[in-house]
């Protein structure tokens, strides 16, 4: 029997709730602004072929990507589609530096002159009137996984969701999460997952009985989420490596029969009175696989059937109303009873944005305050725009969150978060049920100091195609959305650039790293073993040259 805490909901704000590259503060210094979209006279042309066959590929989008910073113009003027023979011509390009890249659905993106798959392209300088010919590209088909799903009798199973998965760092833990689109089995149990980038994957199969959760049944049969080749245990799942252009066939799975369990309890209002006819849903946490629903009876009780082991987020939904209850729930092998979901209004974080003394502060309209979950409730972050007087009021479900503010521009960044005058930047705050935190100060700073350097390999050769990660030496600062972490890549000048607060740092250069993986403390722990240590003081400009490191075993 488990009893769980109760909290409320905001809207689905997964984007804020998960660390992503977009949340690491911008580190590229502004160089130029995009050129005017008109008036160019340079031309780039060439042909795009399929790597495996050498035949021309039609309807490939080829773009001359400007290396200048700032938002790209929309619609993007320096792009063209290939014809039936794979030929393209991009006209009217202003003088400047560009990289040429080709995209087509179900092919791996390819850039001209790239040193590896999905790597950045060679930068090319175009002068007015120049015609650059024979900029030919080869596209490799994206990865494909096919197979068949059968039940314990060997019969094909229809409507099984088969999903490619990868480990990702989400809300404080490394979790196997969906990575790309899945597929559904057909009448003969077959599936085909396509459009996969090269990399390492796990494949899982889930038979979702949509109607089961809502209906009264004594049937406890079901299937556990099954990982290829046929295990319910993530640790025993077999990792599949998909090389570029590879099709893995016969990735066959046999679903694992399991006893399903029930979760039951009661939904009450803020006064503790039972609430009848309220929708209750259980959503399987981070895998994004599995949704179960039910409804409370007139006496407020509910039962959800058909649950298989895993992490769930339980919600009681008052339709069309802001009042909700949310609860994180872990299901192992046995029924869960006596859950209590208290439906209340959203809690609130109130406060204001302040600026550390410095240059011209950004406009209020450019500033947002967000909340990132520090607990395992899925889809319950928060985010609001700051009012003109720099105050904010953010409704969100109760629970543990980090308060953050995405960098409003290249020169300003979150400095610290104060609750009643106490620094809570790297310690999450507890938002009370049916209550509020009222004195939160989100302080932004422009006291950022430039760090730059070059990366060389073991032969001393300059490396342009790599990732540089700069992170604080103190692991206490490795919190989601931390200001002591930056990821960047060498720019046109062959140097990487980052801007950091004064402090002690590590920096490491690696060839490749999964997007967002650098926010994972486990990655940083491994990375610091081979990283370069340095400090930067206020007002200082630092040059840090880095050796290219092998990627951490991760």
């Amino acid at each position: 029997m488990s009893r769980a805490f109760v909290c409320l909901v905001a809207v689905l704000t997964l984007a804020w709730a998960q660390p992503s590259p977009a949340q690491t503060p911008p580190s590229q210094p502004a160089r130029d602004t995009p050129a005017a979209a008109t008036g160019g006279t340079a031309v780039v042309r060439g042909r795009v072929v399929e790597a495996a066959t050498g035949r021309g590929l039609s309807r490939v989008q080829v773009r001359a990507n400007t290396t200048m910073t700032g938002p790209p113009p929309v619609p993007y003027p320096w792009a063209a589609m290939t014809d039936a023979d794979g030929r393209y011509e991009i006209k009217g390009i202003p003088a400047g530096t560009y990289a040429i890249a080709a995209t087509k659905p179900n092919y791996v993106r390819s850039a001209f002159g790239a040193e590896r798959v999905e790597g950045p392209g060679k930068r090319m300088t175009l002068t007015d009137g120049q015609v650059l010919d024979k900029i030919d590209l080869r596209l490799v088909r994206a990865g494909v996984v096919t197979g068949r799903v059968v039940d314990e009798f060997g019969d094909p199973v229809t409507d099984v969701q088969v999903v490619p998965m990868r480990y990702q760092f989400v809300q404080g833990s490394r979790r196997l999460t969906r990575a790309g689109r899945g597929a559904q089995t057909n009448d003969i149990g077959e599936y085909r997952i396509f459009g996969l980038s090269p990399g390492q994957y796990y494949v899982s199969a889930v038979l979702q009985n949509v109607s089961m959760g809502q209906q009264d049944t004594n049937d406890r049969s079901g299937y556990a989420p099954t990982y290829y080749p046929g295990t319910g245990n993530v640790a025993e799942a077999q990792r599949l490596t998909i090389a570029q252009g590879q099709t893995l066939t016969a990735v066959n799975l046999t679903l694992l029969p399991t006893q399903t369990v029930r979760a039951s309890g009661i939904v009450v209002d803020a006064q503790g009175r039972p609430m009848g006819n309220v929708g209750v849903s259980a959503m399987q946490g981070f895998s994004g696989m599995g949704y179960f629903g039910g409804q409370t009876k007139p006496d407020g009780t509910f039962t959800i059937n058909g649950l298989t082991p895993g992490e769930y987020t339980l919600r009681a939904n008052l339709q069309g109303n802001q009042e909700q209850a949310v609860l994180a729930l872990r299901i192992d092998g046995s029924d869960v009873t006596d859950l209590q979901l208290m439906v209340t209004k959203p809690s609130t974080i109130r406060g204001r944005v302040a600026f550390e003394e410095g240059g011209t502060p950004p406009k209020a309209s450019a500033i947002r305050v967000t909340a990132m979950r520090a607990d395992s409730v899925v889809g319950a972050g928060g985010g609001v725009a700051v009012k003109d007087d720099l105050s904010f009021e953010m409704p969100l479900p109760a629970g543990r969150v980090f308060v953050r503010s995405p960098a409003p521009g290249p020169n300003w960044r979150l400095n610290r978060v104060l609750l009643n005058g106490i620094d809570v930047t790297d310690s999450a705050v507890d938002v009370p049920v049916n209550g509020s935190l009222n004195d939160v100060v989100v302080e932004l700073t422009d006291h950022l100091y430039p760090i730059s350097g070059r990366v060389t390999d073991s032969n001393g050769t300059l490396v342009r195609d790599c990732f540089v990660i700069v992170f604080g030496q103190d692991p206490a600062g490795w919190t989601p959305g931390t200001r002591y972490l930056s990821s960047t890549r060498p720019g046109l000048d062959d140097l990487f650039h980052a801007k950091m607060p004064a402090g002690a740092y590590y920096a490491i250069a690696v060839t490749d790293v999964d997007p967002g993986a650098w926010t994972d403390p486990e990655f940083l722990t491994q990375a610091r073993e081979r990283a370069t240590k340095f400090s930067i003081a206020a007002g200082e400009t630092k040059t840090v040259d880095l050796p290219l490191s092998p990627a951490p075993v991760f």
């Binding site: 792009a79 039936a84 009448d187 009876k297 007139p298």
Partner: protein, 558 residues
Amino acid sequence: MKHLLAASFASLALGASAHAQTTFSTQVGQLAQPANNNSNSTPPTPGTATLRGHVTAADSGQPLRKAQVRIFASDIRENRLATTDADGRYEFKEVRAGRYTVSVNKGSYVGLSYGQERPTDPPKPLQILDNQTVERLDFALPRGSVITGRVVDEFGEPISDVQIAPQRYQSIQGQRRLVPAGRQTSTDDMGEFRLFGIPPGQYYLSATWRSTNPSNEDKTAYAPMYFPGTENPAQAQRITLAVGQQLSDIVMALKPIRATRVSGTVTGSDGRPMTGQIMVMATGGFGFNMSGGGAIQPDGTFSINGIAPGDYTLRAQSFGPGGPTETATVKITATGEDIADLRLVGAKPSTASGRIVLDPAIAASLPTGLSLMTMPMDPGEMMMGMQPARMADDGSFELKSAPGRMRINMMGPMNGFTVRAVRLNGTDITDVGLEFKANEDISGLEVELTNKVTTISGLVTNARGEAIKEYTAIAFAQDREKWKVAGRYQSMGRPDQDGRFKIAGLAPSDYYVVALDKIDPGQVTDPEFLDAIRTRATAITIREGETRTVDLKISTVP
């Protein structure tokens, strides 16, 4: 888009889901007292009937294991599920007496309900009595038909993510339209598709392309196409599928047309740039028909490419906790020319406040746990941004609605109640609905419920005067104007084991009642059809709370 869909499905599911059977007692220490003490809160006693049978494959006669059998009785809110064992057997015990529909589904087989001869027939009710044991309620499921094929572009290259749907003609609000029937699928990276589980019948196959990347620069879109290669449904080729038939290697080549790019800005009602999502939906279709969309940029601008020619509704919405906070819509016609500088201004949803009251002539207490929401009067209108509101214990409610002419739809456990009238500040608007205007609130809405429900029932005989058990009875208002009002003046009934039909809950009025040998889905709301059969119908008048018995002679559908 995702959670909008989820929200509206949830509300649809509300009416159909129930937990009547499980007896479950909970002790929660700090709870003071239950909110309501009416009879609803005591769980119903278990029933005494038993229901069992077999599920087999129609072609081989082999038992089907793991088939799902569902029994559902809306009036007593019974909804149960059983799964067949290795011998295809299923059993329901402790079933309460009631009028049930029984339906069976298994993977790629065609699902069937009790009383269906064809999968398009309306199911028949199964009357179950106390202490009754219903044996041999067996189902032989036909194997679904399969269509496989491939979709290519003008160069013969495969196109992925093209939506493939079997469609059939159905009469909707009097118009014969092609509507998707059954499962749909989409093409894979080889351009291939496999449609399965299709009931036997006549179909038209459609292929609908939509841009997978609305931010790209491709000026080519593809028009929706019907097999073998026409945009005009009238020229589409009919495909006849026999039971379990497999039709292979259908090839459809999509025709390129010039795509439209739509761009502009969205401003909130506070004058600041609005952030959120923008969606492009084809108009004129039924249900959701997303053709593109994307995020609105922080500066309020948006740009969506890849829209095929046609009429669309653009809908921008910002999100807050609890749903969309502001919305803005605009209708556009895409012709291949870009549409730039669209300016959308967000508006907050209108609020309608009011109260649910009881018919003063009855002695009962208000059902608890009811919700209500607005629905467009025109069923072809997009159902978006509508949110159900919960009734408070005293019957009051505060409802949010998108702009437009709306009717009020009740949701939740009606427990034998029905809407008697909807009034706005004293004026009866039950059948005409009410107009919501952007940024304007409405107060003084009153929804009156009654448990005095009308019932029409009867038996049907053939030309020789013999009682028959295979027919569909329909009742529809004599006043043609009332045919436009959804759900109140038309209904149908099917015979139970005794051959008796029962139609409950029609609004009191003058009706025609007729028994027909065959009816296609949708004909009940087709004015032309109703006009054609009214001459053979029996005219009756039914008053509030009245139960009428009308015995009918079977008519052959013209």
